[in-house]
């Protein structure tokens, strides 16, 4: 690392934004490839939201399983919107990446023969989800951090990214605020890997942590990169009623049942073959239908684990046992847990190729913030952790190679940092007469949930477009009440809300335009999938008037679209 500290300009060859699994894996790979890499994250790496992934990570490890079967399940799960070349990469490389995690130290559960155990998961024709009880993401995150520490990778933790610097459609670095001092730095880099995770807080409620505000997606979008398939938002079938906190799909993988108020296993009506283990979009729609038609319990359905027995629950599902007890007051060994579908995951994101390269030179993305696209219109459980390690690795490698090859562009001035410093000081010093940022976020989130929810109509989505615009207008006058520099979370919340408003705009615009139902995008006014007109990706590019939409073809290699049944 070189620096011109007095000018607040730092230099690295590769900068990774975000320190969840995709970011840490990318940084580790860039370091292995010999690049001077630094990670910039608004939280300490182990606080990243990857740690909340519970159920597991997929790979075809068993002899009678195959990567082709895994790929087919993923293609079908994606409702044929996933790019099949990327899905082939994901599933072919899954076993070696998971074995590498094991070699790094992840304490995967075992079978009696000492090999890694695998549990069934939704939408999968085979039990291929490796797991550490129900703390899989947490276990992998901590192991990945250990590897990062071992490799001595530089981490700027609690630095909040404020912009991507571009020059002639080429990414040249970032600006970021060190939260402890409030100082804005320019970090020059040949390549930037965006790995900032999801945008769940655009919705209210969501399973996502408070930090999941889509920062990297929004910064890439503002810098001119294309976002892809932003209308595809996954609602997880089992979230706790009040808090929106996640209850793992592993609970159904281990044999849990979903019941309506009559005690009926209603999934038999919607997915007679796979029942509770149909894909998430199917299960969430079924639950919502039960609730809407008056067969719910207090706005929920019931997740019944009692028949699994106390021993299994305490060994394999102990985190959700605690969460249900602590947050919903339910002892799941004795009573069912009330659950409902809730916003969980964003399939869309920064458009990349299978090496993580975005549509700007020097810009890469991996993990939830990227759209490769391996998830298409609906992600399968156990594939997101997998995506972070496979495409984190590939993006880190590609970024390091680009950093070695890229032509010298001359030193970056700190103009971007100075401009950012000025605009942030202006914002932080603004009088506090406007709306509170939390109020606006709440309004945005509840509007998104009711107007761009599990089921949506053209009318609702048009209203959604208006609602986002209206919140944006008030955002221009939002109040900042903390005028300090040190750890100013009020200022951060205001900046995050700006990111989320940009992203929400692309989500409702894409959803309004797509007049079909596919995967998680379920239009009541267009209930059928329409391959003739809509087997294509939505691209959204920034313009001052709002997102400009265009479309791109879906790559198909060996699987032709079929009707989807579970």
């Amino acid at each position: 690392m070189a620096s011109r500290a007095a000018e607040r300009v730092l230099q690295h060859q590769v900068v990774v934004l975000g320190a969840g699994l995709a970011g840490m894996r990318a940084a580790l790979e860039a370091a292995r490839a010999g690049a001077d890499v630094a990670v910039v994250s608004k939280v300490f790496p182990t606080r990243s939201h990857s740690t909340a992934a519970q159920g597991g990570i997929n790979a075809a490890l068993a002899e009678d399983d195959s990567w082709e079967k895994h790929a087919f399940d993923t293609v079908k799960g994606s409702d044929y919107l996933g790019d099949q070349d990327a899905i082939e990469v994901l599933c072919r490389e899954a076993p070696s990446d998971i074995l590498e995690l094991e070699h790094m130290g992840v304490a995967f559960n075992r079978k009696p023969d000492g090999r890694m155990a695998q549990r069934p998961f939704g939408g999968a024709g085979f039990a291929r989800t490796c797991y550490v009880a129900d703390i899989t993401g947490h276990a992998i995150v901590h192991t990945m951090w250990e590897q990062l520490a071992k490799a001595g990778v530089r981490v700027y933790d609690e630095w909040f990214a404020t912009s991507l610097i571009t020059d002639d459609s080429c990414c040249r670095g970032i600006t970021a605020m060190e939260l402890r001092t409030g100082t804005i730095y320019t970090i020059e880099a040949k390549a930037v890997v965006v790995a900032t995770g999801g945008l769940g807080r655009v919705y209210q409620p969501t399973t996502n942590g408070l930090i999941c505000t889509g920062d990297g997606m929004a910064l890439a979008y503002r810098a001119g990169a294309a976002l892809q398939d932003m209308e595809f938002t996954q609602f997880h079938p089992t979230t706790l009623k009040n808090s929106g906190v996640l209850i793992t799909e592993g609970a159904r993988g281990e044999g849990g049942h979903l019941l309506n108020k009559d005690g009926e296993r209603f999934m038999a009506k919607y997915a007679p073959n796979r029942l509770e283990l149909a894909s998430r979009d199917v299960v969430s729609r079924a639950e919502q239908t039960e609730i809407d038609e008056g067969r719910g319990v207090d706005g929920c359905v019931l997740l019944d684990l009692r028949h699994l027995g106390t021993k299994l629950i305490h060994e394999k599902l102990y985190q959700i046992y605690e969460l249900a007890r602590d947050l919903a007051g339910a002892d799941c060994t004795k009573e069912p847990i009330p659950v409902r579908p809730g916003m969980h995951y964003q399939m869309g994101g920064v458009k990349t190729d299978a090496n993580g390269a975005g549509t700007l030179r020097g810009l890469y993305a991996a993990g939830e913030c990227a759209s490769v696209s391996v998830h298409g219109a609906n992600r399968l459980g156990g594939n997101s952790l997998l995506e972070t390690v496979v495409f984190g690795r590939r993006a880190g490698r590609a970024a390091a190679e680009w950093a070695h090859e890229a032509p010298e562009a001359g030193p970056l001035s700190n103009a971007a940092g100075r401009d950012m410093e000025r605009s942030i000081r202006e914002l932080a010093g603004r009088s506090s007469n406007g709306d509170r940022p939390a109020k606006l976020r709440w309004e945005l989130g509840t509007a998104m949930n009711s107007l761009a929810g599990i089921f949506r109509t053209g009318e609702q989505l048009a209203e959604g477009v208006k609602a986002v615009r209206e919140v944006r207008e008030r955002y221009a006058r939002v109040g900042v009440r903390d005028h300090g520099r040190v750890f100013n979370t009020d200022l951060v919340a205001v900046l995050e809300l700006g990111y989320m408003l940009d992203l929400a705009g692309t989500m409702v615009a894409g959803a309004l335009a797509r007049t079909e139902s596919r995967g998680a995008h379920s239009r009541r006014d267009y209930p059928k999938r329409d391959d003739a007109n809509w087997l294509k990706h939505t691209l959204a590019v920034y313009s001052p008037e709002g997102p400009k939409l265009s479309y791109a073809t879906v790559t198909q290699t060996r699987w032709q679209p079929e009707e989807r049944r579970y």
């Binding site: 304490a107 947490h138 942590g209 040190v486």
Partner: protein, 332 residues
Amino acid sequence: MQVTLKVRRYNPEAEKPKDYWQEYNVEVESAGTVLDALIKVREETDETLALRCSCRSSICGSCAMRINGHAALACKTRVSAVAHQGEPVTVEPVGNLPVIKDLVADFQPFWDKVRAVQPWLQTAGPEPEKEYLASNEAMMHLAGVVNCIMCGACVSDCTVLEVDKNFLGPAALAKAYRFAADPRDAATSQRMGLYNQYGGVWDCTRCFECVQVCPKGVAPMDRIMALRERVMANGLKDTYGARHTEAFTEIIEHSGRLDELRLPLKTYGYTNIPKLIELMPVAIRALAKRKSPPVLHKSIPGVENVKRIFKKVDQLQKGDGKVSTEKAPPKP
């Protein structure tokens, strides 16, 4: 329900930075957590209040703080469980770490100590083509420690760290144990040397605070005790800690009760004159208060039964090679 939060605040940018208490009245749902209440304050009343939080589900480890004087995760603590009869709930930053602002502490010293235990797997020989073979029990045992979310609650309330900043502390040592107990790890003797040093396993006073406050059932103190046994099993017995353990065991086996006169003599050595001189004031005070142990130490009646217990434990340990204090993974 209505609750009063009494928050210890600190603004480093004040003219004369000084911590102070501030009270907030806030309405939360009956099942609401302290974190819900704090977020409500921050979002609706006072945006200058700084705290870390994210997942709301006890897994990211961001929101450890002292609630009514003891470290806890704000997102796991229900308001109704800590608001006693309308008394205000006190909320302070974690202890034993410097405060940056309000409830935000500086975790740099915390992570430095975690890094100091070489917190990564060190295998030997060529990697297997597939996974390392291991028993599910061994992996589940590890998962009990891997459950640690590095929230710092244990470090906050560690009574040793209060007086000795050099102690590696419960979080780092639990992490150390996670590798020592991993059947894939091959750096045992090097690790044991490291953990046996000043500031390591012997500095714990077994006060149980870390076990009490850990929100994830990791029981760091138990892990430290298990590390002590491993350190000694690796032949590292030339510390006061190890000798104290051995002397203690010997005496009990011999007479069924503690011989408080010989315990320090055996621990420090009969010929360790400087140390024994150091102990003199304690001995004199004990004498003056007529609390000195008898010179003639008598066995308890039925001491043969105690010896039989020792024999049995010995046999069991030899039988499965397991160290006695390594408990099963914590159950919720």
